[in-house]
């Protein structure tokens, strides 16, 4: 395998990992854009989504059809969870100092993780997520792509297109953009801000659930703490792309995934995180508001 071939293969691996980060980063960035809250519990929604799909697949058995169908209950469950979380935990604190909501978000995250640990049907021990038999395709002798990677790409791109449609071309999407631009003024214009915020959590949580199933299909082992690392990486991806910016989150996720994989592949697997995050610091030093973020007066 020559250098070019290996480079293409590693980039492909990175893009596959990056699309999962991107899906998750979208939730962070949308919630931040609307209510300026960093929802630390977002990574744990990924875990809940993976577990819902796990139970569904245990029930139905694993075929390509059931795997696709399992997205539905997982996304529905998680969007309900996301909205409940918002109504119970974040809404009462909306007019309090922002640090209160932030601490609450961390609390919710711990609640979900340790709640899952205590629940008898989930428990603290890792489980094997059902996967389809391995199929490998070779493209022009250049890269080999597995059907899991194809699944990740197809689902991620499809969901991003749907999200783009909702945000750009529907009434509620317009309302979201308005609220994110100026909450006070949009309330005065007759936009139901509460509904828009709930809808944002609906979108973010269902994307996180989908990311959870993709993550579990690619790395078939699920446990209550599985959301922490992807959650952290997705948060960083959102900041890198410019938090609050939707295309930024996608770009940030993909860059982070590719950077991580390429450093592992060509520099050093020991230093991969250090190098990848060093790169991020560098980008943020040059462009503090992120790649596609608008410069703003306030700090995160």
């Amino acid at each position: 395998m020559d250098f070019l071939q290996q480079f293409c293969q590693q980039t492909l691996n990175g893009l596959s990992l990056g699309s999962i980060y991107a899906l998750l980063a979208l939730g962070y960035t949308m919630v931040y854009g609307i209510i300026k809250l960093i929802n630390f519990a977002h990574g744990d929604i990924l875990m809940v989504g993976a577990f819902v799909s796990y139970f569904v697949l245990k029930q139905w058995g694993i075929t390509p059809v059931t795997l696709m169908l399992s997205f539905l209950p997982a996304m529905l469950f998680c969007l309900t969870l996301g909205v409940t979380m918002e109504k119970l935990c974040y809404k009462p604190l909306r007019n309090q100092p922002r640090i209160n909501s932030l601490i609450t978000a961390i609390g919710v995250s711990f609640l979900l993780e340790n709640g899952a640990r205590v629940l008898p049907m989930i428990g603290p021990n890792p489980r094997v997520f059902p996967t389809l038999p391995v199929v490998n395709y070779n493209w022009f002798g250049l890269v080999s792509i597995s059907q899991v990677q194809i699944l990740v790409f197809v689902v991620a791109i499809f969901l991003m297109l749907v999200l783009n449609y909702i945000v750009s071309f529907t009434k509620i999407g317009k309302a979201m953009r308005a609220v994110s631009f100026d909450k006070g003024a949009s309330a005065l214009m007759g936009i139901n801000v509460d509904r828009v915020i709930s809808f944002t959590f609906v979108l973010g949580s269902s994307l996180a659930a989908a990311a959870g199933i993709l993550f579990a299909s690619a790395y078939p082992q699920i446990e209550p703490y599985m959301g922490i690392m992807p959650g952290m990486k997705a948060f960083i991806a959102a900041v890198l792309g410019g938090i609050g910016s939707i295309p930024g989150a996608v770009l940030g996720g993909l860059i982070l995934g590719v950077a991580e994989t390429l450093t592992k592949g060509f520099l050093s697997s020991q230093l991969s995180d250090a190098i990848a995050f060093g790169l991020l610091i560098l980008i943020l030093v040059v462009k503090p508001s992120g790649l596609l973020g608008k410069p703003m007066g306030e700090k995160v």
């Binding site: 021990n125 391995v134 490998n136 597995s146 446990e223 592949g265 020991q270």
Partner: protein, 382 residues
Amino acid sequence: MKKKWLIVGALVVVVAVIIIILTGRGKSDTLKIGVIMSTSGPVSHFGSQCRDAMLMAVDEFNARGGVLGKQVELIVEDDEKNPEKTMNALIKLVTKDKVKVVLGGLTSDCTLAITKEAQQRGILLFTPTSTNDMVTDAGDLVFRACFKDSFQGTVMAQFAIETLNAKKGAVLYDMNNDYSTGLTKSFEETFTALGGTVVATESYAGGDKDFNAQITKIKAEEPDVLFLPDYYNTVSLITKQVRNQGLDVTMLGPDGWDELVGQAGEEAVGGYYCNHYSPDADDFDVEQFVAQYRERYGLTPNALAALGYDATYIVLEAIERAGTDDPQKLKAALMETSAKYVTGHITFDENRDPVKSTTILKVVKGADGKLTTEYVGVVNPD
């Protein structure tokens, strides 16, 4: 007057407390043994089975009237495979429960976290399952029931070269785990010494789930064998990604692969690993142990269960020989151990490591479509 009563009252309380403490200490009618096991967390299948086998062994002793006329009581602490929690568990067992003998921990990184502390506190630490070479270096009160990593790394490298005729080997290991790094070192040394070439040594950090980058690099070197020195939970993720990347290679592993057959899919088929025992072995002790364990817990015991059972027997028999659980006297009695147990005939060398054989197993697909293991052979120490 009032002051005088106050003083009398205080004295009465103090005396009462002292009496309670003294009686509590003096009249312990059970022989307490501490156990530190990872019964939850990433290697829970190992920890819970090991603990269950220990409880089974203790019940067998108690049914015969206990040890030194006392019933044996195991006080089990869970460390979740977290070395800090292993340390907390040790301190709790020593200070609160006042045990003098501790069985544990399970994984090498957890055990290495407590060997020095146990030695300094004068506690006899007997680990059933920690294979890292350095475990027994801490002092003369640390023993183990399993073979060492340098032995199993050497055995697998020999097997790769001599039986599988491998020329090019690759290793993918966890750089943050003492078990994994120790095995990598011994595998590479032997593989090179026997005329093979290690074409790729790639690493990851514990808890990583994405190995695609490392596997792509390994694939470029086209190795004949890939050594994966880690526990079953991580190995099941790696084998999946190895096949997803279209890398066709024979995978080899250490005793941490035990339980892999229940965790991995078809991608693990064809892999070889060495283990402490095989439940199918034609041996009276093994048959009896497997039958009893199956009857009691409803599943086939893994090697960790066998080691936990053996460790309990070795320690309790030594306590009977020494006539006490005092660590200094128990130490001498343990060194005289020479008997046949479930995992083979065990004697201790001068480093308190057992001299024993290893079994090589192959992962195969059974008639019912589920993964199972096939006995390949036994390797004896030189």
